[in-house]
């Protein structure tokens, strides 16, 4: 559920936002959209793949969190603590909205998000109806995420144009000995990457896409960790 409201110091002055990360905030999801700009931070922790949007068929970058619907293996004893959190998670419950002059920050809020309440958590505004430090920080995250979308799209288009994406079925053994197959994952193809012409390599390098390709490939190591957790 989403009810998006333009953030307003009067209307929303008594709202508080519960922080922390766990299932109760609806974070029991098996994948989360990410952007190329945060690959450096994601790579030590998450396998990052391309997935197709089921509504549009368009590719997006996603960090994989589990292998079943609603399965987030990063949430341990109710908490998602470890390491870097994807921007899409960090920004909750805020959404980018340009030219919101009433607060001077480009923000809207999803008031249906379970974090939103009137008792506990961070205040949005101080007594003078000025944005709190917390809110200013959230605005930075939301704006950074928003400004990263265009370059993310460009990165994916570069991969498509250069024909670098391959379907990548994941197969592993479950504890009961049965093999599990995960379809619908796409990845940069190492083989296609290694057969690029010098000219294309230079072009990819200059756009920053080449480094991102190697980060994506490196992130696949994290599947081992995820599979271990899954089998535990």
């Amino acid at each position: 559920m989403q009810t998006i409201e333009t953030l307003d110091p009067i209307r929303h002055h008594d709202l508080t936002i519960e922080t922390g990360h766990s299932e109760k905030f609806g974070e029991n999801i098996h994948c989360v959209p990410v952007v190329a700009n945060e690959l450096n931070q994601l790579i030590p922790h998450y396998p990052v793949c391309l997935l197709k949007d089921t509504e549009t068929g368009q590719f997006g970058l996603y960090a994989l969190l589990g292998f079943e619907p609603n399965q987030n293996l990063y949430i341990k004893s109710g908490h998602w603590g470890q390491g870097y959190l994807p921007l899409h998670i960090q920004r909750q419950p805020f959404i980018y909205q340009p030219n919101n002059h009433s607060v001077g920050l480009n923000l809207a809020i999803n008031v249906d998000n379970p974090r939103v309440n009137k008792q506990t958590g961070e205040n949005l505004f101080d007594d003078n109806q000025q944005p709190s430090g917390y809110l200013k920080n959230m605005a930075k995250i939301v704006e950074f995420l928003h400004s990263s979308l265009a370059s993310n799209q460009a990165f994916i288009q570069t991969l498509l144009d250069a024909n670098l994406i391959d379907h990548n079925q994941l197969k592993f053994q479950q504890t009961d000995g049965q093999s599990k197959k995960i379809d619908g994952l796409y990845q940069v193809s190492q083989q296609k990457l290694s057969t690029l012409s010098d000219q294309d390599v230079v072009k990819l390098h200059q756009s920053g896409a080449l480094q991102a390709c190697y980060l994506l490939l490196a992130s696949q190591e994290n599947f081992k960790k995820l599979i271990n957790w899954y089998n535990d």
């Binding site: 197709k52 089921t54 509504e55 549009t56 068929g57 368009q58 498509l160 024909n163 391959d166 619908g184």
Partner: protein, 516 residues
Amino acid sequence: MNSPISSVVIVGGGNAGWLTAAILASKLKSKCAESVSITLIESPNIKTIGVGEGTWPSMRRTLKSIGISESDFIVSCNATFKQGAKFVGWVTGAKNDSYYHPLMLADNAEQTDVLHAWHQHFEHIDFSKAFCVQDYTCDNGLAPKSITSPEYAAVTNYAYHLDAGLFTNFLKKHCIEKLGVKFVADDVIDVNSSINGAIDKVLTRNCGYITGDIFIDCTGFNRLLINKHYQIPFQSCKHVLAADSAIACQVPYPSTESPITSHTISTAQTAGWIWDIGLQNRRGTGHVFASDYLSDYDAEAQLTKYIKNTGGDVEKCTFKTIRFEPGHLSKFWHKNCLAIGLSAGFIEPLEASALLLIEMSANTLAEHFPANQAAMNLVADKFNQTFLYRWQRIIDFLKLHYILNQRDGQAFWQDIKQPQSIPDSLQANLNLWQHQYPCMHDFEQAIEVFPIDSYLYVLYGMGFKTQYPFKVSQLQSDLLSRQYAEIKSNFSQLERVLEPNRHLLEKIKRYGLQKI
């Protein structure tokens, strides 16, 4: 004699001409070290036939192989997905009389046991429903794939319905811009042969002579090279399949959101049948009939009635009448001239096999492209043999749709099942199938135009009886029950991922399909 074949001249720019050009250009490029030049001459004065909107799944392979993006094709040609054909009224003409010929193969149909179990104990379930999931996807108007399927990949097997005119333009543009086909807009007015009888060059009205090593006659019913010049005799099959006329008509949808049917509907009439093909922006319909049994006036009246009954607005329709002699040439390749498309022959479009034969012909030519003039006759002999066989198979298969009819009291339907009108090859198979179930070995060639499954769908869709003398075991019965249940559960899974035809087409227009 031994100099290599280095230039192909195609006369005619309908879908036969452009498809042949595209297939040759792409295949020869990857095959021959030295390039073969391809020139297509098209009359600016003689129109293309402008009909022919149903295809076979082979079209997917063909389009992919000539370097076309499926999304571009769908958007440019108003194309939609076709998962089979539904034959309405072909058995008795009673109200609920219909059966499907889906494009997916029948599950486990190679096992005679399973066929036998169906025949003995499950005949109350439609044959196609017991053997294939596409009855359900068609009945529900679902697309055969989803927006996350890559281009040309299928969830359930499919072909296309397409706008014939738009398809010609689309292929033409692709051939000229991407495949290096030379295009000459001119009339061919004369043909020049060398001493050995091969065609040397053709004379055009404005561009002078155009020479070539091999000439493809794609001039449609004009048959300019193969018949007017070489006078290769034509074999009529009107005594087998009497339809010789068609009235075609484009019917607008009532609204831009009208559902798009996922299969061709063929509805029997008093002396023929009506095709109904859903494109994105309109339906294409037409009445194919035998003029010996029905006047144009009555044929048009039946079509008008059909259009009205199916929600069409007749006021907005224009009718176009087309005559043809059903049959084919006695030889398609003579000297250095090969006929492809309507020039090679045409029979009522009951199973949309015309474009399929064009694809097959062009592919065969490309794969067995003669190295030089010396090889040409040998390649030609083989080609003629293969394609005479294919035409015979098509005639047999189309005839099969008619001979099991019980439409009593209508002369056309009675005459068409008279034993003397049934080709020997078909009669022999029917005699066999009365005692045992059809199997692969009943056919001669590795690449049949229609797979054995197609025969099964039509035979048992129409209620054919096979008197196989053995008892059905419990095991066999169980096998079939399980299969039937699996098909149903398979469909409930598909229902979750497949959406209505129009929805998917709208999405493809908006987002395109991915190549992978």
